[in-house]
């Protein structure tokens, strides 16, 4: 079997990056960035999530494209759920 085996060093590096991201997002929460507090927090969270998916969940090395297709589909439908719901709720008071 041609299974990709990542080195322990890589796993530890990703682990350290995730801990660093946690520290950063806590520190950023105490700085007043106005509306950008939310954007910075979500950007750091998404970066951490991508690291977990690519390296811990081995998607970077997945030899079949179906896994990637499934993930993109999940994100796409999640965004439809959030965006179309907000398109309704956020505009109800406009008239």
């Amino acid at each position: 079997m041609s299974e990709h085996v990542s080195s322990v060093k890589l796993y530890v590096a990703i682990w350290l990056a995730l801990l660093l991201g946690t520290g950063l997002t806590v520190a950023a929460a105490f700085v007043n960035l106005g509306p950008f507090n939310t954007i910075v927090a979500l950007a750091i969270a998404s970066t951490k999530a991508v690291l977990v998916v690519l390296f811990f969940m081995h998607v970077k090395y997945a030899h079949e494209k179906m896994t990637k297709l499934v993930i993109v589909t999940a994100i796409f439908f999640l965004l439809i759920l959030l965006a179309l719901s907000m398109a309704d709720y956020a505009t109800r008071l406009w008239s």
């Binding site: 997002t25 969270a45 969940m57 719901s85």
Partner: protein, 236 residues
Amino acid sequence: MHTSPAAAANHEAHENPALLHHFATAEQQKDAASFGMWLFLVTEVMFFGGMFCAYLVYRYWYFGDFGAASQSLDIKWGAINTAVLICSSLTVALAVRCGQVGKQKAMVVNLVLTIVLGMAFLGIKAIEYKAKFDEHHIPGQASFHLEKSIPGHPDRPVNQQHAQVYFSLYFAMTGMHALHMIIGVGLFAFLTYKAWKGAYSPGYYTPVENAGLYWHFVDIVWIYLFPLLYLIDRHP
């Protein structure tokens, strides 16, 4: 003459007892199991997505009240729990790697460490829940009271109904996440027993890998819950 897939399967079945007869190769069997797990995780994304959507709508409507309620959470415990979960994701990833390279003892150690870290997370969550009960921040409680004003408006007290919506979502989302953690700890307890008995080898460690995918997914849910519930309304 070409070797038929059935003949190839028969040949491989002798080498790998874990290979089921309706799969041609062990690789195909593993891909099918992994694909099924990913499809399950998609349903989990939509499951948690519904709650994230409710959070988004109510945060938009009751923005100030959500900010005040969010500030009542203890950032210290939230941050420690995030670190604990990240450590457990590392031990899971290392356990799967042990499966790939056939290190049975190290796999058992990593699985036990994962269980310990998972329990630590749940214990810290229990401390946080206990504090919420002590402070009367339980939605629906007759004595519910959040003694705070809207952030940036010291003269405007919090709307108690709206604050309860925040805590309803807080308990629903972290509670559902905790339930997933409890299921995960149970899965890893079972896998530890099987690994200790020597059920997994480089030729077959699919259950460890799929439980790992589940655990990493639960980790990702927390990676989003932590900033949304604890952090984004914290700034002065």
